[in-house]
């Protein structure tokens, strides 16, 4: 069961709810024990307690009251049941949700992880930025029964809606609610304004930032630059669902060069081409999110220690229309990398496809070593990634990797299981931003994202 915050109501209705702990069940007169409506079901998170508060002090009091409740024992069908366990937390998880529905979606995802990564979750939304400052908090405890014979594990969820000027200082709202000594992860779905001062303040107290670059508007590359800039300015660890999702592609590509015969070609790469899905018939630059295709190149280039010679720029000219008639198709973007001696050409090109826009459809690698040519073709096939390799025109490898699409629960679990900064992510992200020409100090084409702020504010 998931219950989000109620919309900020009138003052009267707010004060009526303050301080009242509601068990999801009832307490028979004189029994002193809570009778739960439903017996807990193994492995399924259940809402056990909820309360409301209007200030940080009240939130702290309510949290203390939940866990100080002396009668945390269930009675099901008249029989005393298990004791509800005390809180378990392995981290603080702060979610920045621009709309309540995003917050609720995130909460549903987090509840699925109550067992694996119990955390104190604070879901923050800002509202009514021009009105007076106010705060509304819905506090919940969700519990999970890992096994029939085990005590329940419970974690807290706080929905915070902050109005007025307070909404621009989320760091000041969140800081007192963090469990000290536990790592702080900020999950910022949607379009984070990473280059703004409030965002920097909030992220200043975080250990990890989780975003999903594949959902960013336009081509997403400006925010990619902002994200990479955070790496340089802070010790923040970063996880991007867009990069995590590509794990099976990376596994598939790496597997090619596990074959000893193919390994030497890795140092003689000449061309990397990535085709991505677009719904725009022209495939015009800026019409489709490019974060995932650019990450592929960024990962490969960073692992191979390539340097960006020329960042991605639109390829001049157009190709044939996607459907035989209609507007001509963009030829995508091209860049040049260098391995010290040779250039490696990079092409990122659109292809009209019913797949979600920005999804990688195909990666082609071409390597040339001592007159011998290796060509690898990695394609997405339904819930799999298919690898084919030709050596001098003769097919040498044909392999399929099962790659079912990960849910947000899987992605969040992967993101928070990483401890500290992951060098592979850091280098891939840095390289992707360089490829996009979005690093600080990049030329006029590059956009200079570090100083930009065109996004919407909380």
């Amino acid at each position: 069961m998931v219950e989000g915050p109620s919309a900020p109501a009138g003052e009267g209705s707010r004060s009526a709810a303050v301080g009242e702990i509601l068990a999801i069940g009832s307490r028979p007169a004189g029994s002193g024990r809570i009778v739960l409506e439903d017996a807990p079901r193994t492995g399924e998170p259940t809402l056990r307690w909820r309360s409301r508060a209007r200030s940080i002090d009240q939130i702290e009091q309510e949290l203390a009251r939940i866990w100080a409740e002396p009668n945390l024992q269930t009675i099901v069908e008249g029989e005393p049941g298990r004791h509800i366990a005390a809180r378990t937390s392995v981290m603080n998880l702060v979610v920045i949700a621009r709309q309540p529905e995003i917050g609720e979606r995130c909460a549903a995802t987090i509840q699925q992880l109550t067992g694996r990564h119990p955390s104190r979750t604070i879901i923050c939304s800002a509202a009514d930025p021009d009105g007076p400052s106010w705060l509304d908090a819905a506090i919940q405890a969700h519990c999970i029964l890992p096994r029939e014979d085990a005590p329940e594990t419970c974690a807290e969820l706080i929905y915070l809606t902050v109005g007025g000027e307070s909404g621009r200082h989320l760091d000041a709202v969140v800081a007192p609610l963090l469990i000290h000594d536990l790592p702080v992860t900020v999950w910022w779905p949607g379009e984070p304004n990473l280059a703004t001062e409030p965002a920097r303040d909030l992220l200043g107290m975080a250990d990890r930032l989780i975003v999903d670059g594949s959902t960013w508007s336009e081509d997403g590359l400006r925010r990619l630059g902002d994200l990479a800039a955070l790496l340089e300015d802070s010790r923040l660890a970063i996880s991007d669902f867009a990069l995590i999702r590509q794990y099976r592609w990376r596994e598939a590509i790496a597997s090619i060069f596990d074959v000893p015969e193919f390994l030497p070609y890795l140092r003689s790469m000449r061309r990397i081409a990535v085709a991505y899905a677009t719904h725009d018939e022209t495939g015009a630059p800026g019409s489709t999110n490019l974060v995932k295709p650019v990450y592929h190149v960024g990962w490969l280039a960073s692992r191979l220690k390539l340097q960006v010679e020329r960042p991605l720029r639109p390829v001049t000219g157009t190709s044939k229309p996607a459907r035989g008639s209609g507007p001509p198709m963009s030829r995508g973007l091209a860049a040049t990398l260098r391995d010290g001696r040779h250039d490696v050409s990079v092409v990122v090109r659109p292809a009209v496809s019913p797949m979600p826009a920005g999804t990688t459809l195909r990666i082609e690698l071409l390597a040339d070593r001592r007159g011998s040519e290796l060509r690898a073709d990695v394609t997405a096939v339904q819930e799999a990634v298919h690898v084919r390799v030709w050596l001098d025109g003769v097919e040498e490898l044909d392999r399929t990797f099962r790659a079912p699409r990960w849910t947000d629960v899987d992605l969040l679990a992967q993101a928070i299981e990483v401890g500290g900064r992951e060098p592979i992510t850091v280098e891939a992200l840095r390289m992707a931003a360089q490829l996009a020409g979005r690093t600080a100090g990049a030329g006029p084409d590059g956009g200079g994202a570090a100083g930009e702020d065109g996004g919407d504010r909380q």
Partner: protein
Amino acid sequence: MVPGTPGPASPGTTVEPQGAPDLTPHPAPKPKDAPRTMRDVRLAREGRRKTAPRSTANPLREGLRLERVPDPAVLVLFGATGDLAHRKVVPALYQLWRTNLLPHEFVLVGIGRREYTDESYRAEIRAALGKYARVQPVDEEAWQSFAERVCYERLDFGDADGFDALAKRLDAFDKERGTRGNRLFYLATQPSAFGEIVAQLGRVGLDHERHDGGWRRVVIEKPFGHDLDSAVRLNREVGKVFRERQVYRIDHYLGKETVRNLLVFRFGNGIFEPIWNRRHIDHVQITVAEALGVEGRGSFYEETGASRDFLQNHLLQLLSLVAMEPPATFEAEALRDEKVKVIRAVAEPRGADVERTVVRGQYGPGWVAAKSVPGYRDEPEVDGSSETETYVAARLTIDDWRWSGVPFYLRTGKRLPKRATEIAIQFKQVPHRLFQDSATEPDPNLLAIRIQPDEGIMLRFGAKIPGLGIDVRSVTMDFTYGSAFAVDSPDAYETLILDALLGDASLFTRADEVEEAWGIVDPIIAAWADAPAPDFPNYEAGSWGPEAADRLIEHDGRRWRRI
């Protein structure tokens, strides 16, 4: 000075006449990657020098943290119609498939003596999954795709033609299913068949690894022999066909999550290792208790007994993980080297020592879990005057710098009150008893690592009882896997089969480990053979073992932990 090394020339020393033999030792030729200059030496010591030549490492593999999918492969399961295959191996493979941890190009070939078609064998293992799959109900979609990769081959292990046909069928899979010559042979048969199967595999060349990367590995289930001689013989037979790096000896205890966590606990935390020695630890207790009896395996148990079935493998493996030195790297050979060193340092009880330091027992009738159970001698397929031990307790010592003087008490038995496996590290009493006036003297600290059930770790320490006085009581800090991580752990077989497919031998037992462990158990069994017939049964089913086991530890002023 090293003999043979010429010293500095002193005044008056005569110069060796020309033509005399040059006794100066020549330096051994350096390996190609040996450090040369002082800078090289320093960098190597600082770990900054790469040990592997650059050209052999795939840079794209770096940091692929998520589970790596093994190479395409055929798993050839000998004993495919047996209990182990149905209960453990096939459910583990299905679970790995369901969670996308097996390669798309995967084939399971079941080998057995019974007549099955591919279809009827699939139906049989589908039924087994209905009972034994870890996650129920069975996912029909995953099963269907898994079943497409399962086939059956009827084969007598002595049938040379049958092995020729098997080799051809496996080659055909390479072409039809893209399995690329990679084969994992899993011997889930009676141990007596191991030697014959391995020899047949060698005869038809199925041990030969291909130049293009097709690997061949063999997984052998315990018991690895029934004494030192037979273990050496088995290792020799296997070694004639497979190289040691191709051999994966399974002791499923090593795949258990808590056992693997033991390594993380010891070597991933800074606070325990400094006190993990004779200065701070009084003694260690390792218990593997079973509530079950022999469960219809009377004839098997008659030949093994507790010392061969548990002491030689599970208990000594746990002891080695508790007592080993930190390995230099988390790699199979480094890890196994350290384990072997510890087992080698265990003082073998011999002759009269055995009577003082080892206790054997056999259960009589009694009550377990509110049920009346027969004594061992009344079990089916068991001799009515059997002298087979169903319980063994031992006091072992490790003769090395870290553990000298610290006894390790090991015990295992059947028909004990409950199923429990635990390692308890008992720390020494504080050197000065400051709270002597306290109503309760605090117990020494204790660290208990529970392996099953309720996997977790418990630390006991003294705390002041609230009140005006200074009364101390022991309290515990408990970590349980179930509540800290409310997720299922993989079954040990899932972990170990995946490791074997990936070529990671860290959690498998090496030939020398097996032989060293038999070197400890063999003298015990020999001493028992020379001793008068034991007074069996000497413990009641449902009790914690014979009284002599209590006396064994009480003689040292200690007592068994109540579990």
